[in-house]
């Protein structure tokens, strides 16, 4: 099996300050990797570098494309990278309003990626939208409502539907459950877990919430001050942390 994504020595500087550095890993098809660390640890910087939202100061992000095989997405032409962003890649933002068009109906939000890749049959697009609303547990009769009329949890589920409708192979998620109530988080996590398995998605999830990665991630990368300090199987890293920082992180979580 070939890795879906090969990340080699990614480095991002903010002037003299390190955003992230020396980050390398392989992600295989169907694998979910969590990146944890406190605010300022460089985890979001890394995610945005990987997704092409930030320019890097070095390194490679090699993605196994459908038509050309492994290609470094950092040196890809912009049209090609943006096409990837609408087809095989998806990005779920922490704040749904960053990932949704708030003035467009739920159906239009879901249909946008289909239309962006050439969908020109209204009936088919709408049927897909309704199907996806159902998969993310939103009532079909909300298809023509704007996201501004939705609760925070629904907005986040709509954002997920909008991203997954084109059947991407790699999903980047930035604190997907941040800012949601605990009960709403549980529902979202359960949903994401089911979709990841059904669709065989690979995902990279940035979060500071260790409960989230325990439920969703196969493996973990722990970051501190822009460096990766520990990697491994999720339950092993959480139950038998090796690095001082990971031990501190794990022991800081309140037990319920």
């Amino acid at each position: 099996m070939h890795p879906l994504l090969q990340v080699n020595n990614i480095r991002k500087m903010y002037g003299a300050r390190i955003g992230c550095t020396d980050v390398s890993f392989d992600l295989f098809p169907g694998e979910v990797m969590g990146i944890v660390g406190e605010s300022g640890s460089g985890k979001s910087t890394l995610l945005n570098c990987l997704a092409g939202h930030l320019d890097t100061d070095g390194g490679e992000v090699i993605f196994d494309t459908r038509d050309r095989g492994p290609v470094d997405t950092l040196t890809m032409s912009e049209p090609e990278r943006r096409m990837l962003g609408r087809t095989d890649w998806a990005f779920v933002h922490q704040h749904a309003r960053d990932g949704l068009r708030m003035s467009v109906s739920a159906g239009g939000n879901i249909g946008e990626r289909l239309m962006a890749v050439g969908g020109r049959h209204y009936g088919d697009i709408r049927a897909s939208a309704v199907d996806w609303l159902d998969r993310v547990e939103i009532e079909e009769n909300r298809v023509d409502d704007r996201p501004s009329a939705f609760s925070g949890g629904m907005q986040q589920r709509l954002q997920i539907a909008r991203n997954l409708v084109t059947g991407p192979r790699l999903v980047f998620m930035d604190e997907p459950t941040g800012g949601l109530d605990v009960s709403v988080q549980a529902r979202l996590l359960d949903l994401l877990r089911g979709l990841v398995r059904e669709m065989g998605l690979s995902a990279i999830i940035v979060t500071h919430d260790l409960a989230v990665v325990r439920l969703l991630a196969d493996r973990l990368m722990v970051m501190k001050s822009g460096h990766v300090v520990e990697t491994g199987l999720t339950d092993q890293v959480l139950d038998d942390p090796q690095h001082a920082y990971t031990q501190l992180l794990v022991s800081s979580v309140l037990q319920v």
Binding site: S105, G107, V117, R126
Partner: protein, 293 residues
């Protein structure tokens, strides 16, 4: 006359605008930025069209100006007077006679010829603006041909109204490349965008010029199951009986009485001159259009 340079603008400005026009013609549908000048009329009154006309006019031209198809509304009259005074060119109300036609919101019914230029006044040149407020992003979308968003707009139309309710400024794709706002012409006029004449579009406030060269392919966007339909009121003109022209609805009284008349006043006048008579029409051609006060 001598207090104005020909057609008001100085020669350097006209050269700058002509360069933008030529670039626009070379890249059909592409919005060319230009240094729009202050004109002696407010934005929204056709400052973009006026600058394009000024750059295109020669002393031998015959100018026609229409507003919503009519030669005699305030906007049309004032622009026509503007060029009479600053350029001293001949003017006409007859489409046939004009070499340059400046228009707001209509394409004349008469088929235009290769030796004619149609200049549109454009309020908002960016067809993607409805859904994407960032200029940096819309430019990128044009350059990368990312036009899915245009169909999102049409999708929203159908989901809210059961059909594509956009009835004017209906987006088109030019020569298979750029998506373009044809200015707020009724979608009835969209098929006429493929024509023999040169079409120039000027947006003064937004500082953009774009163009459609003669015989360029112009396709109205649609869905396979909701195809584009050029629509008009389902009537014939009450003055000239034309069944094929775009009609204005005119309320006659407080009892709901109304009539439908050609929005293209010259077209209506010439048909009546040729003897066509509508439901409410009279034998003798009127000297002014029905909206005249």
């Amino acid at each position: 006359m001598s207090e104005y340079n020909f057609a008001y603008l100085d020669e350097q400005t006209k050269r700058m605008i002509r360069r933008a026009i030529l670039k626009g013609l070379a890249i059909p549908g592409y919005q060319v930025p230009f240094a729009s000048r202050e004109m002696p009329m407010p934005y929204g009154w056709g400052t973009g069209g006026v600058q394009v006309s000024a750059a295109a006019l020669t002393p031998d031209d015959t100018l026609k100006v229409i507003d919503q198809g009519a030669d005699d509304t305030t906007n049309a009259v004032s622009i026509r007077k503007f060029f009479q005074r600053t350029a001293g060119v001949a003017t006409t109300e007859e489409t046939e006679q004009a070499s340059i036609i400046q228009t707001r919101h209509r394409i004349p019914e008469a088929t235009l010829r290769e030796d004619q230029i149609l200049v549109y006044q454009v309020p908002i040149p960016e067809p993607l603006r409805f859904l994407e407020p960032r200029e940096t992003e819309t430019r990128k979308m044009h350059s990368l041909e990312e036009y899915g968003l245009m169909h999102v707009k049409l999708y929203e139309d159908i989901s809210q109204h059961g059909q594509i309710a956009t009835s004017y400024a209906y987006p088109v794709k030019v020569e298979g490349r750029y998506v373009m706002d044809p200015s707020p012409i009724p979608k009835f006029d969209n098929p006429k965008l493929e024509m023999a004449a040169i079409q120039l579009f000027g947006a003064g406030r937004e500082q953009r010029i774009y163009a459609v060269p003669p015989y360029t392919q112009v396709v109205s966007l649609d869905f396979e199951d909701y195809p584009f339909e050029p629509t008009k009121a389902d009537h014939a003109c009450d003055l000239c009986a034309a069944a094929d022209s775009y009609l204005d609805e005119v309320i006659m009284d407080d009892a709901g009485g109304r009539m439908f008349v050609c929005s293209d006043t010259d077209y209506c006048r010439s048909r009546r001159a040729a003897g066509h008579v509508g439901r409410l029409g009279t034998e003798a051609p009127l000297s002014t259009g029905p909206e005249a006060a």
